[in-house]
């Protein structure tokens, strides 16, 4: 090998040393409470991760500006984010990295149920309490002690959503007789469709006329929509979590002029980019079942979020992380400790009926059963109206009444 010349050696030395001079000494005080946020920040679900981060940052700013965690002498909360990417392997290694590098008091993530399943295993092993909005049933069916699921689980959502939509159908004089299942095979959708397919639809006397499931990405939606056109279901339960797939299906539904109720399963169907990509005429009337959405009385919060982020409206993903951060704060107050085990124990015992966390998660009370599921969690139905999604069910917290567009 040729010896390195002096200028090159100097340059290399400079490059090595310069960053140390530029990076400020770590400004984190010893008693700060660190929360990990492991969500997709790259790959096909990066947008959802970004939205979740916005919610977490907003809550942290509020808490810190109001004096931090009082039981810990005003300790501030700091966020440690890690990119879960778009595969379980990436998510697991991100969680591993962020949880072993320094002491983390609690974690939040990872949006897609398939990712959450992997990440919670790491959290369980490292004994860090983990809050998730993911829906899949099996997240809290593994006997884990450190996983807390604040959303109603998929199968329960399916049951409650079916009750809600049959009710709406009856009211509008459009009883549901035929249904279709259209969606990808990611965990939350699978667990939503399974009970519908196996028992729930039959129990309501609804015939399942089409059952189309794919692995993202979807190459083309023609065959799916052709089946819908041929079988004419009254309602389509719709679970296309990957945005390009979903856009293809909705464009085709319009192109083939299929008239049906589209009932989404999840908050991926209420992001602002839908309106920009396929127009509000196509979206209006489409509804989806979600774990959280702005309710009547949360106008101030939504206004603040919109001002902070420039987003046109607030949805489940920032709302849930906003609530999760506040919930961790409450748990730390009750535990009087930033120790992850103490916070876990506090979360397991918590019964919260006031404060930002409780008011954000319907029906306004947070406590967990022995599996880590939030007791009494009920899904909401959100409907697109005039290019914006509004909570329409339950009526007492709805921001608009249900509209029948199509």
């Amino acid at each position: 090998m040729r010896p390195v010349s002096r200028p090159v050696a100097l340059l290399l030395a400079f490059l090595l040393i310069a960053p140390m001079a530029v990076v400020p000494t770590v400004a984190v005080a010893a008693d700060d409470v660190k929360i990990a946020l492991v969500v997709p920040l790259s790959g096909r679900w990066a947008r959802q991760g970004q939205l979740k981060k916005m919610g977490a940052e907003m809550a942290i700013e509020e808490i810190n500006s109001q004096g931090g965690i009082k039981a810990l002498g005003g300790a501030k909360i700091v966020l440690r984010e890690a990119d879960a990417g778009d595969s379980v392997e990436k998510a697991v290694s991100a969680a591993q990295r962020v949880l072993t590098r320094e002491k983390i008091s609690a974690g939040i993530g990872s949006w897609l149920s398939s990712l959450t399943l992997g990440v919670t295993e790491v959290a369980e092993r490292l004994q860090v309490p983990w809050l998730t909005l993911s829906y899949a049933d099996n997240i809290t069916e593994r006997g884990f002690k450190y996983t807390f699921q604040t959303s109603p689980v998929s199968s329960l959502q399916a049951e409650q959503a079916l009750d809600l939509v049959t009710e709406i159908g009856k009211k509008n004089n459009r009883p549901l007789k035929k249904a279709a299942l259209v969606g990808d095979n990611t965990a939350a959708t699978v667990f939503f469709f399974k009970p519908l397919r196996e028992k729930l639809l039959a129990a309501k006397g609804i015939e399942l006329v089409a059952d189309e499931v794919w692995t993202p990405p979807l190459a083309d939606a023609t065959s799916i929509v052709q089946k819908l056109r041929a079988t004419q279901p009254d309602i389509v339960f719709y679970g296309a979590t990957n945005f390009p797939d979903s856009v293809q299906v909705l464009q085709k539904v319009k192109e083939f002029n299929v008239k049906t109720i589209i009932q989404g399963v999840g908050a991926w169907l209420v992001t602002p980019e839908y309106v920009k990509t396929i127009g509000k005429e196509t979206m209006d009337g489409i509804q989806t079942v979600v774990a959280a959405h702005p309710l009547k009385g949360q106008e101030e919060l939504v206004k603040k979020f919109k001002q902070r982020t420039g987003e046109p409206f607030m949805t489940q993903d920032p709302l849930c992380t906003y609530a999760h951060v506040w919930l961790i704060k409450e748990a730390a107050e009750q535990a009087k400790s930033a120790d992850p085990k103490a916070i876990r124990d506090a979360l397991a015992k918590i019964d919260l009926t006031s404060g930002p966390a409780a008011t954000t998660l319907y029906p306004g009370r947070i406590r967990f059963d022995e599996r880590g599921r939030r007791v009494g969690a009920i899904p909401l139905i959100v409907q697109w109206q005039d290019g914006e999604p509004f909570t329409v069910v339950p009526a007492n917290v709805a921001t608009r009444p249900v509209a029948s567009y199509k």
């Binding site: 990066a46 947008r47 945005f243 464009q251 990509t277």
Partner: protein
């Protein structure tokens, strides 16, 4: 199965395949002339989609025209990328130099482009809302999506233009000579290194235009490449590595197989048909449908 339903599946497959074909031609050209396996091809397609998007949003240019307008800037970009990076790992035409580094280079380029785009333009998906994306031409009982039909026609035109360029012009002859035998081409006074640059520029411009056409009906996000790059490679290998007509036919075949697979298999196995066909073709004709044993374009 009604004949009209079968016809609908065939028509859909053809329309989808047309854009796959255009994407794959660029890759085949680059491989044929330079012997470079360009893993970043899909990312240049994604950049083409973004440029078309900004043409549409900022200048109100229809994406079909916008796709054509991506050709010149991406040709220049291809030349620059070749000059700055690829020249160092392709040996500038010397066939005896080691070429392993090119795989790492193009893979690295792909990662850098995807992540830089995520950082700069944010991961938020964007879309060009054109009315013809959700309208169809009714041809008898068939419904042909308008955006896809236009994209298909444009893809055919561009592919034909490439064919004319390669067979009827001096530049084309020089490109083919550089592909067939770089050493002999050099003796004939052809600047092989320049031909590599041209091939890379044209290859990138074509895939960017394909991206522009795709943007009429497919949302744009930094990671869109992963959905297409594997299909591009399958099309190119299926058609015969480096063969332009082969890549075109390969692209069309993939579209058709994807669509017709659904007649036999559930939706979840949509791409299984593609890979089974791929394996069968390689088993029967290892050189691909249009491949010769020698390299050619």
């Amino acid at each position: 199965m009604a004949a009209s339903e079968l016809a609908q599946y065939v028509a859909t497959g053809l329309l989808v395949g047309g854009v796959y074909a255009l994407m794959s031609i660029g890759l085949a050209l680059i491989f044929g002339v330079m012997r470079v396996v360009n893993f970043a091809q899909g990312d240049f397609m994604m950049l083409g989609m973004y440029l078309t998007y900004y043409y549409a949003v900022a200048l109100h240019v229809d994406p079909l025209l916008g796709a054509l307008l991506t050709l010149p800037p991406f040709f220049v970009l291809g030349l620059l990328v070749h000059r700055a990076f690829l020249v160092r790992v392709t040996g500038g035409g010397d066939p005896n130099r080691e070429m392993d580094a090119q795989l790492i280079l193009t893979l690295g380029l792909s990662l850098v482009i995807t992540n830089a785009t995520t950082m700069i333009l944010s991961p938020m998906p964007r879309g060009i809302n054109v009315p013809y994306a959700s309208r169809a031409f009714a041809v008898g009982p068939l419904l042909l999506n308008q955006a896809r039909a236009y994209a298909f026609l444009m893809a055919l035109l561009l592919a034909a233009a490439v064919y004319v360029l390669l067979t009827r012009t001096d530049l084309g002859r020089a490109l083919r000579a550089a592909a067939d035998d770089p050493e002999a081409a050099g003796y004939q006074g052809i600047d092989v290194r320049r031909m590599h640059g041209m091939a890379f520029g044209i290859g990138i411009a074509l895939v960017a235009a394909a991206g522009g056409l795709l943007a009429t009906y497919h949302p744009i996000e930094p990671t869109v490449a992963v959905n297409f790059i594997v299909l591009m490679f399958v099309a190119v290998v299926l058609g015969g590595l480096g063969s332009i007509p082969g890549a075109f036919v390969g692209g069309i075949v993939i579209g058709l197989v994807q669509s017709l697979t659904l007649l036999l298999l559930p939706l979840q196995l949509q791409n299984v048909g593609v890979f089974v066909t791929f394996l069968l073709v390689l088993y029967v004709r290892p050189q691909g449908l249009f491949g010769r044993r020698a390299r050619t374009v």
